[in-house]
């Protein structure tokens, strides 16, 4: 039985910059995130706020280009990923952590069969354990496909990605991620590009898998509702920073950060109440981010200190941290 108190992943003060014409896009600015064994963590934020970048940094698969990590550490089981040797990172990727991408169509290689792709994932994850027979690989592939409830797995193996529907492709991606036992799954907005009913199915599938194997999962979503249902802890992200984190009950009962409050207010309620209010303004430029709190330009309750220094995460009650100067009276 995994100990829910043990910290599996600890991202500390992560900064990630991306070089472009005119300077650097300071995409991530002091990201803190903790995932415990078996915990289901939700990462919520709008499109473009840096969720995917954070996850990709964990696995060190930021697209080849000009990414630069000026500061920060990512501790996995106590060891800093950013300082790991290549072989250790390989091991991390093939046996510990797996990521399910947002767009399943882009995430599957179009010129190879499904069976080929899953087979290779299994084959190389087993490489560290001494290799595996072709027969066994095939069996495992089919088993993985069955676990995601794909019909007729044998036939699926000889199909190509373009022959499948979007929902099926997403399931294949999940199958690849769970084909070997992992300690941490990262699901990047699974089902976002599909229609809502399928999205719901995917979420339930993930939930089931995670509970069955007691795997930790980071579920990225832009929907607070989904996060509420499916996670044990929510991190709210804005413009490359974590602004608030709490368990779902506390977060929904007692939101503190103005952004979180704004998010909650924009969700329409069945019980009526007229049109909802959005949050005026838009994401700041990453090229010249506001000094100080990144939400400050859109915040109605700002104070002078908000534009000077970015606020640090501060625990306002048990299990509830907020990065905002409003916490100081």
């Amino acid at each position: 039985m995994k100990n829910k108190e043990n910290i599996l992943l600890n991202i500390k003060d992560l900064h990630v910059w991306y070089k472009v014409y005119g300077g650097y896009l300071k995409v991530l600015n002091s990201v803190h995130l903790i995932v415990r064994e078996g915990e289901r963590v939700g990462l919520v934020g709008e499109t473009g706020c840096g969720k995917t970048t954070t996850m990709k940094s964990i696995l060190q698969i930021l697209p080849p280009g000009d990414f630069y990590i000026p500061q920060g550490q990512i501790f996995y089981k106590g060891r800093d990923v950013l300082k790991m040797s290549f072989k250790e990172i390989q091991r991390l990727r093939s046996r510990e952590i797996a990521m399910i991408f947002q767009d399943p169509t882009a995430a599957l290689n179009p010129v190879f069969t499904i069976g080929n792709q899953i087979g290779d994932v299994i084959k190389y994850s087993a490489a560290f354990a001494g290799g595996m027979h072709k027969e066994k690989i095939k069996m495992r592939s089919i088993k993985a496909l069955k676990e995601v409830y794909l019909p007729d797995p044998e036939r699926m193996c000889i199909n190509y990605p373009f022959q499948l529907s979007g929902g099926m492709r997403q399931r294949v991606c999940i199958a690849m991620a769970i084909s070997s036992p992992r300690n941490l799954l990262i699901a990047d907005e699974p089902g976002t590009s599909l229609d809502v009913t399928i999205q719901d199915q995917i979420h339930r599938l993930l939930n089931e898998l995670v509970e069955k194997r007691n795997t930790a999962i980071i579920l990225i979503t832009h929907s607070l509702g989904v996060a509420r249902e499916m996670t044990d802890r929510i991190y709210v992200m804005y413009a490359g920073t974590i602004v608030e984190t709490a368990t779902p009950e506390i977060l929904f009962k007692n939101p503190f950060h103005p952004y979180t409050k704004g998010l909650l207010a924009s969700v329409p309620r069945i019980s009526g109440g007229g049109m909802t209010q959005g949050i005026p303004g838009k994401l700041p430029s990453y090229l010249n981010p506001p000094s100080g709190c990144r939400f400050q330009p859109r915040c109605e309750q700002e104070r002078p200190i908000c534009s000077e220094e970015p606020p640090q995460l501060f625990e306002i009650e048990k299990d509830h941290l907020v990065a905002c100067y409003l916490t100081q009276r």
């Binding site: 929907s223 969700v267 329409p268």
Partner: protein, 304 residues
């Protein structure tokens, strides 16, 4: 309900024609162009060639050598300060002749492109817009026929059958050049015509003319310009290949390919008679290639 942060007005903006190429955004365009030093090198080379070709009579040391001129005393001189590239078999200064040869080459390139590109582009536009109708089929099949003959062969065939002059060589090359642009533009036009802003324009009653030229065309132009820059180099090459076998400019007007072939007879002792014109050809092609690459970097956007 999907939680989306897009405000309502941005959806309407997507339907309006996307911002056209910002010519005037020189600062940013220059940055993009100059990021690669090679593009600057290309620009310098091309500028050098063009300027020296235009001002040839004034800047070459022996302008009269590009015409009927004979100096039997000075034949076969090694390259020296007086004759930068040496002299040829009848005593003419090779350097001056090369510069003059560039004139013919550039004129040919400019004219060929000026004549071949507009119809090619137009046909591609039309074919792309009327995609999957008989217009498309007819245009593209004819294009394919022209494209199925290796370009050099067609040019040679035509040039050989007509009298060997610069004009005829140009006609030959023009005839086989336009299909490449048709195919290029066809590919782009047929995908652009399915974009929302074109459909929107159509729905709001815009005429075909307007749609073709104001909506679709501007979005197809970037690769056309890139290709044109690169093509100058290739036309020069084909021109040189034609003059190598005696088609195109006739002596005494100098032509690069002809100089190479004439000089080849005197190898290896008088190597400069061939090598320098050959290098001039290489330099020209190189310059335009680098320039074309720079233009591509500038016009065809990456992720910025």
């Amino acid at each position: 309900m999907r939680y989306s942060n897009q405000s309502n007005d941005s959806i309407a903006i997507n339907l309006i024609r996307p911002t056209p190429i910002s010519w005037l955004n020189l600062g940013k365009n220059w940055y993009k162009f100059s990021r690669n030093t090679l593009s600057i090198v290309g620009l310098v080379i091309v500028a050098g060639i063009i300027i020296s070709a235009i001002f040839a009579p004034w800047i070459t040391p022996y302008p009269e050598h590009a015409g009927p001129f004979v100096d039997f005393e000075n034949t076969g001189q090694l390259p020296s300060l007086q004759h930068l590239c040496g002299t040829d078999n009848i005593g003419r200064d090779i350097f001056s002749r090369i510069i003059f040869a560039f004139r013919g080459a550039l004129v040919m390139a400019v004219l060929v492109l000026a004549i071949a590109v507009p119809p090619g582009v137009f046909l591609g536009l039309v074919a792309g817009y009327f995609q999957n109708t008989w217009i498309d089929t007819v245009i593209m099949r004819i294009t394919d026929i022209f494209l199925s003959v290796p370009p050099l062969i067609l040019a040679l065939a035509i040039a050989a059958m007509l009298k060997p002059t610069l004009i005829n060589a140009m006609i030959a090359v023009t005839v086989m050049w336009w299909p490449w642009y048709t195919r290029l533009v066809y590919g782009m036009a047929s995908s652009v015509r399915n974009e929302y802003f074109v459909i929107a324009a159509d729905l709001t009653g815009a005429g075909k003319f307007h749609i073709l030229f104001r909506e679709i065309l501007p979005n197809c132009l970037s690769p056309v310009f890139t290709k044109m820059a690169l093509d100058v180099g290739w036309v020069i090459l084909i021109g040189a290949s034609l003059s190598f076998v005696g088609l195109g400019e006739q002596p005494p007007t100098p032509a690069l390919g002809q100089m190479v072939s004439d000089g080849a007879r005197y190898m290896p002792t008088f190597w400069w008679m061939t090598i320098f014109p050959a290098l001039a050809i290489v330099l020209a092609i190189l310059g335009f290639n680098l320039l074309g690459d720079g233009i591509r970097d500038m016009l065809e956007t990456g992720v910025e």
